[in-house]
Symmetry: D2
Subunit: 435 residues, 4 copies
């Protein structure tokens, strides 16, 4: 499934309403998917927040609902009454211009509302959303469609976060619970790492067109690149193990200074979720602990680890522009969430003729700080807080992961995390200067 | 119901087994009470730990069970197999000599075991405990009886903690959930505060006898006291309000230095759970928010606040010896948990002829640091960690509260908390030097 | 030299003025001693504060001066003008009722006033103090004499702190500077440890009489003691080394719970200032690093270490009442500051017939929390903040140390520090119950 | 004075030695300037470190000397003996590959070595440096010249840091000491703010040539820019005051999310060193407190404040490429250290025809994160730690300040600080997209 395209809008009333209907259908699908993702959870699992960066599943369920209530129902559905007067305070994430909010690190301290009440909340809002789309005034239809699609992408982001957060919550539990009893795997040895060379010069990156994109993907603009090379596939666990065994985590010269500080403070010795038991490496997956597979892409590394690994290897990380240039004519296909692995899988055994694993498997750290594109304009009003205000101290990641929905990802998509973050499905693709 | 008395033990085999049967019956009653206390909880409420000092209800249920498994079943029940190999790690509280344990501040991060599994654990252990008492070897019966009774008192302590913890967890929730829909109250104006004078000289305090007591209540020993006076009842909310309105929380000269540091760091302006809404004082109770009743004893104050209040009033707090001298010939009756108020109630309207509210309502802060009695010997082995190792930096409280089971409290009972703690049902009785 | 005795005061004007003159003479001696203690310091040493608990020598010089300015000159010397308007803010330590003060942990951040200016400040105040005593009104003379003596004792306390603080400041410096090039030592093997038994019953402790005492030493009052034993001398480095080598710092069962937390947080493996170099133990002294002498009393241990050591040895620490009963008929003689060792020295080689080393060498941790004596009344006004407000969370130490001035110490003297403190000259005398 | 140019090197032995002589002459001048900058300091001032980011003047004096000892004398001067064996540990800043080092936040805790000893250290090394240049082997001369020049620039950086650090140390002192009794000022009203437009397209930035540059200024490379506008001068105090008075520090919507967190945590209400006294704004300068001059450039603002101000104004900050394009054909002249103001001064009263104040006055925050240029190669070995390892989480600043030496600055110079840093002389130039 592809992203929604707004191109038809404004050509005729009939087409507008057809588009609105399609959006509503998709809305209902996205909302339903969120709930399906929660099916394996016990009631007790819904409330856990094992560190400030993660949120309890219950909170994800309610916050995504609050988004529609706040940005669609309240401004556009005449006579709409909020489900609960305190939910705005409880489930606003960070929209300062909308009002105050409950402190993020304490989201796991709220047993109420119950899970049941949160599902009621979802149903209540879903019903109102259907009413809104049915009854919408033509003059507001474009905003309603746009915001609904935005809210759907927002919910898809939270679907991905929910899986990453559940994994984190389960991983700190000594019982190592499994989200799924078993995950399919592909056992194969990837082709050896090759390099693809790309021409430099002036390129264009960023979004333009009639489909949906976040504001941070715009405007499409020119960049100047030197010739560069991109690795044919992701770095594997086995390759990363060589770094570990070569003392990578003990050699200050390989690390950015801030990264080295984190390594020592947190006593990092391996990627997140790697566990050494009786001299063997194990990793935590959504199906619990399992033996490390050296052929799978390395996952759950920070930017600092990705950068240090690349330096150790005599290479570097790609810039986001390089990555996008390589990806922009490609279909966003790969080991995305719909593939069902929920874990990165080994690259193809034969060389593909173009970079393998660009989409899916793991988000690829780039060496680009997350900053606005030239001429960037955030959305008006509170929705402008969605992306723009995070444009400091974070690094861009590209390509989606094994828990990213396919209709959510695109070549222009800019994900961003702090350089020390590891709990998302994040990995490494190497780049190099061309000779 | 009174505390168990071991006096008959050792006189005859028949009496020994009769005592064992009584203990088992009581054991089952205590275990059942714990579960009854949890009946109002939603599944979501079982996992919450809103600050490091509190524990999730689920943890209380499991830890008290672990106590019997560890100190009774494993050493004494031949062939006993633990319910789950990881529960020792998860549910040991602090017994260093028994093994390592999961970090206390993270108890709220564990969704598994589920609530259901914890109840299975309880049933499993209860069944084994019945088998143990039935089959116990005569040579071990005294230890089994003693440890079972100790475990029952341990569980009663946790019953009280559970209620205090649920109150705390609910109080930080902006929805202010209620543990009970409604709590009975007594509306009356207490008699004005009077003073009872006691003779000084050599007194004896501490436990001796054939009943149960914690090791920290022993040995019974002599103390020398000056003549002293004790207030006829507890300090009320109204009296404490005078202190607040006189600027008590702004006057450094009234406070111990460490207390003043806490007041400023935490910005204390009133007791815990007091909330000023639209110019009115409200308090959080186990039935949710309600208007402050000026006649009720003030509750949820720290030692620092109790001490500052007494200084402001020109009085002082009693020593634990003074308190015990006044209480030791009295029946432990009062507003204890069985009274069902779960909240302190106003003192009698007429003067009682002896101190009112000595037992129940609120634990009374004494001015005595929690230290060993002369000649104190902790229990042998790991059980010696129960009390002795906490004998630093804490203050003694006496008399039980509205959430203390009646068969648990005694005039010799020494409770102890850090001087800044407030989340237990703690209050103030004044004392004074005699002229 | 003994403490000042006020007994003659009020008998005649002549005697009053003679006493005032003696006080002034002693005042000048104490003030001069402080400056002599600073002679070995480089200008750079005056400003260092290597942890929040210590103060820079410059601050000690100024604060003790501020004490006389604030409590003597301003209230009693007509027309007195303060040396500098900001010094009250800078050099008030903690007298809340006198005004606000510069944050304690930042005392080391002030390069100005310069050392020179602080010495001018001292001279200015000393001159005014002489004028005050000369010109004092008879009606105020008793207060002036009392407060001057209080201020002298206050300054003597700071003399001791100054030496302990300089030692700390020098110890964290990798160059290990020496305060004195060389310190005399006594090499001898102490007599083996013996026990002296004391009768229990009603004893009196605390100060009464016509001499000087701090308010916290009063009133003299009765206590009931069981029979007890006191060790004949202090615990030595060699004896403490046995504890270390027996794994004392790794055995949780020996420690109070709060102590064990500190041991792990700070990774304590030995007393403060012990340093293992090439398999040998060295200690930092005021003459720099030197080899550990097993015969010297162990020094710079916390209460937690003293308590754990006693438990390991099957003994206990004395209560402050026990210590005082043993000491109260003894002259306060021993390895005090005037002896010039500035380091504890080995006990006598032959048994003394009464406890050796009661005064001097090291402050002896008691097991008594620092709390008010029955009937305690703090001094009126701001001077009441001197002692009383610290009566929480600290433990009493007795007997003075090798850096305590002889005229400052007494059998009734109550020193107090937090149980984790180690930077004072603190050590261990064991006690035991009598059979 | 301009930067050294290495162009002549390698053409003839005579020219090589002439260059070496010139370098030595300049070396001696730079070293001497450092000491002249310290002349106003009292001995007490040399040791202060009022926050972890600043270093004591004494440390700057020693560390810059250690640089020459470590990177020149030890590898190249035959038979050189270090001045003190512990100084490597004490005065290495962060060169992990050279060895361990004393913890940065504790640099202010070392009274020894004394100031005198540090000056001896400087003289010792200076003498050895002269010997080195005189006796250098031809085969090593290029490295010796390069490293000496690098060390001189390093020392110039520390000259600037020293002044900023002394200012900080003095500012937290309630006595507000002055580094200079009086600073010259220029009182004038700047021309109103104009905009200069620049053509976009492909530009080149970065250093190439035969002179000195840091590795992070290389390689010169192409960038693509959109047309852009640059403000004619810096933002003034008066303009920034408008932002404050419009509630700029209270409006979350103006701030980057991480910036807003800092604003609330540190309770920022104005730039660093602004002080509101009796309703008037004062600022701390190197001559102590003085009234705020609305015409001077605003100084001591963080990137977050610069960014929020620009957003409030409807503008943005320049990228570093934009800044360099505007500056690269300009002479680096302006209010640099040699001008002697040691404080930013008001811009010209008439419009200059090109951007005023590009060099000097204040470092100008750009919106560019500090990252490597395409093809960047750090210096080999430990000197590669000089710049490259800091390329995360920091922002680039350009143009030098009123405490930057003129021979140190260049259009290609990339300074970098964390976005919350304020203690350097940092300010704001606005930029805008061209229509």
């Amino acid at each position: 499934m592809r992203r929604i395209d707004f191109a038809v809008f404004g050509n005729s009333t009939a087409l507008d309403h057809a588009l609105a209907d399609e959006v509503l259908t998709r809305y209902q699908a996205v909302r339903s998917e969120t709930e399906q993702l929660c099916e394996p959870l016990a009631i007790e699992d819904y409330g856990i927040q094992a560190m400030p960066d993660v949120s309890p599943p219950k909170w994800h369920l309610a916050h995504t609902t609050w988004f529609f209530e706040t940005f669609l129902l309240l401004p556009y559905l005449h006579g709409y009454r909020v489900f609960h007067p305190d939910f705005g305070f409880l489930f606003n994430s960070y929209y300062q211009t909308v009002g105050s909010f409950f402190p993020r690190p304490q989201r796991g301290l709220l047993s109420r509302p119950s899970v049941q009440e949160v599902y009621y909340y979802r149903a209540y809002v879903d019903k109102a959303m259907a009413a809104l789309v049915d009854s919408a005034d033509a003059s507001q239809l474009d905003q309603i469609i746009f915001r609904t699609v935005l809210g759907m992408h927002h919910e898809q982001q939270h679907q991905e976060l929910l899986l990453a957060d559940v994994k984190y919550n389960f991983a700190i539990n000594p019982l190592h619970p499994a989200y799924r009893a078993k995950l399919d795997r592909i056992e194969r040895e990837p082709a050896s790492l090759q390099w693809y060379e790309y021409d430099g010069g002036i390129h264009e990156i960023g979004f333009s067109g009639t489909g949906f994109a976040y504001d941070n993907e715009t405007p499409r603009h020119k960049v100047y690149l030197e010739n560069f090379c991109l690795a044919s596939r992701l770095v594997t666990n086995g390759e990363f193990l060589d770094f570990i065994e070569d003392g990578g985590y003990q050699r200050a010269d390989l690390w950015l200074s801030d990264g080295w500080t984190v390594v020592r403070q947190k006593n990092w010795q391996a990627p997140l979720y790697w566990k050494s038991l009786d001299g063997q490496w194990w990793i935590m997956t959504l199906a619990g602990l399992r033996r490390l597979d050296q052929n799978e892409p390395v996952c759950h590394v920070s930017f600092y680890e990705a950068d240090a690994y690349a330096r150790w290897r005599g290479k570097r990380l790609p810039t986001e522009a390089e990555w996008e240039v390589a990806a922009q004519d490609r279909e966003p296909r790969g080991n995305l969430r719909e593939a069902g692995f929920l874990q990165p899988v080994a690259a193809e055994s034969v060389i593909q003729g173009e970079p393998d694993q660009l989409f899916g498997d793991v988000w690829e750290w780039t060496q680009s700080p997350y900053r606005p594109y030239p001429g960037f304009q955030p959305l008006a009003g509170a929705l402008g807080e969605y992306n723009g205000k995070f444009m400091a101290n974070q690094m861009v990641l590209r390509g989606g992961s094994c828990v990213t929905p396919q209709s959510h990802i695109a070549a222009t998509y800019r994900n961003f995390f702090y350089p020390a973050d590891r709990w998302q499905f994040m990995g490494i693709r190497l780049a190099d200067d061309a000779n």
